[in-house]
């Protein structure tokens, strides 16, 4: 398969970026999107050109490191997968593919397609943890937790913190990420203890870092590679408002 790639190239955080066009030829349909970029980079290196910088790590959809905006979709055209799980058979032979970095003021471009997602780490540091002693695994397993609660907590915990939610949201809101973290802990007895403090601290940090206000479009849920539901945003709203009313 042959493709025309329009890729955002930006030397560093302070330089002005632009799209550059590349041709990739004889790509197997079973090649992953990131492998296709590897092939392109190999060609560029052989030509003495600067390879395209992009984030990746596990390449099996669990680390949340890959972060490409492909033809208008965060993580490409498929639903509920990360960029590394996209294969070239999902594109048409001869198609033009536009590849952009996450666009959000809180995720500044470092180079080419690599953005700084440290803002999410800062939000986590503000409250995405539990301080209570939970002892070892057998002790944790001895705490009775309703199956429905455990399932909801696990669904929220599936968030890999890739940033697709804020990158997709027209408001640059990080609500889905914050909601998933708050929700996964709020549904468990170990996390419940600090529920109010956590919701307030994480929302305050999210606001401080310049993320936008959620307007409930649901675009984040549609593009989330882990299909995190906006029902967790409703829970975050409840947690936060109840905590504020108790102040």
């Amino acid at each position: 398969m042959n493709f025309t790639l329009k890729i955002w190239r930006q030397k560093d955080a302070h330089s002005k970026g632009e799209f550059k066009e590349y041709q990739v030829k004889d790509i197997s349909s079973d090649t992953s999107f990131l492998e296709m970029l590897d092939i392109l980079n190999n060609d560029l290196v052989h030509k003495g050109e600067e390879p395209v910088a992009f984030d990746h790590d596990c390449r099996e959809g669990i680390c949340g490191m890959c972060s490409l905006h492909i033809n208008g979709h965060a993580h490409g055209p498929s639903q509920a997968v990360t960029t590394c799980q996209i294969y070239m058979r999902q594109f048409k032979d001869g198609q033009t593919i536009v590849v952009e970095p996450w666009r959000s003021a809180a995720f500044p471009v470092i180079k080419d397609l690599v953005v700084n997602r440290g803002a999410y780490d800062q939000i986590l540091q503000a409250g995405g943890f539990i301080s209570v002693r939970t002892n070892s695994v057998p002790d944790g397993n001895a705490i009775p937790i309703a199956k429905a609660d455990a399932d909801e907590s696990m669904d929220a915990a599936a968030c890999v913190g890739c940033g697709a939610c804020a990158a997709t949201c027209k408001n640059g809101s990080a609500m889905l990420f914050v909601a998933a973290r708050v929700s996964s802990l709020a549904k468990l007895p170990q996390g419940r203890v600090e529920g109010a403090r956590r919701a307030k601290a994480m929302v305050a940090k999210m606001d401080e870092l310049g993320f936008g206000n959620c307007t409930n479009t649901g675009a984040c849920q549609a593009e989330c590679p882990k299909s995190i539901s906006i029902a967790h945003i409703a829970r975050l709203n409840r947690e936060f408002l109840c905590a504020k009313l108790e102040d």
């Binding site: 799209f19 027209k170 936008g212 409930n216 479009t217 649901g218 675009a219 409703a234 709203n237």
Partner: protein, 238 residues
């Protein structure tokens, strides 16, 4: 408390939700009131008289204007913050994500259309009714030269909707309101945390029903009086 309603994104959204709920309750009342005009001009005028230049109507008008201003000011404030959060460089390729409504992404635009429609509506009715009464006037001269009392709301309705362009403008206004409410109603409940996966289909269905009832209730009055004007007061419409 006061601070959290201004300096927290969730607090600001709460203000939008509560002010939106207040405006929804008001337009529901207004729609029900308008329907009375179809059945009895006297009953409608009795309501107009009750809502004329008296202290409770003025307090109500002031509170309502406050609600509109808060909702509108917060909408612009939130949008300005959101645009800033989005950054200066926009995506070259954008798509509509699966399951995302056009209305949900264009609430400000729809709100501006609703606001402009409101200004038109106030010039057609409020400026000829409560305002005239407040200024001490006892009669209103309509653009065709006819004179009516400021409490004769039924006559002003009849005159306004006998003109086709007003009918078109009002229907466009109501359509924008319909779209605004299809997202606004369930979004209002989501913002206060009253939603979950089981309830989303129900809440979105409820939003559609509420928006359609309000649109229908307002539109039927406009269309009714326009059709009546075409009939020229034939016995079936009298």
């Amino acid at each position: 408390m006061g601070c959290f309603l201004t300096n927290s994104s969730l607090g600001r959204k709460l203000v939008m939700s509560i002010s939106g709920c207040f405006l929804l309750l008001f337009i529901t009342f207004h729609m029900a009131m308008n329907l009375v005009a179809i059945f009895s001009a006297d009953a409608y005028n009795w309501i107009c008289e009750m809502l004329g230049a008296n202290w409770y109507a003025l307090v109500g008008t002031a509170v309502l204007a406050g609600g509109v201003l808060v909702h509108f000011a917060y909408a612009f404030w939130l949008t300005w913050q959101n645009r800033k959060a989005r950054g200066n460089v926009r995506y070259a390729v954008t798509v509509t994500e699966k399951g995302v409504s056009w209305a949900s992404k264009n609430m400000l635009l729809l709100g501006v259309i609703v606001f402009l429609g409101l200004a038109m509506h106030l010039s057609h009715f409020w400026a000829k009714m409560q305002l005239v009464e407040l200024m001490g006037g006892h009669e209103v001269v309509l653009t065709d030269g006819s004179v009516v009392a400021p409490t004769d709301g039924a006559a002003i309705i009849q005159y306004t909707f006998s003109q086709w362009y007003n009918v078109v403008l009002y229907l466009v206004w109501f359509a924008a309101l319909w779209l605004h409410l299809t997202h606004g109603v369930w979004s209002m409940l989501q913002t206060v945390g009253w939603a979950n996966d089981k309830w989303y289909p129900r809440l979105k269905c409820l939003s559609g029903i509420v928006a359609t009832l309000i649109f229908g209730g307002f539109a039927i009055v406009v269309v009714w009086f326009y059709v009546q004007s075409l009939c020229g007061g034939c016995p079936c419409c009298a």
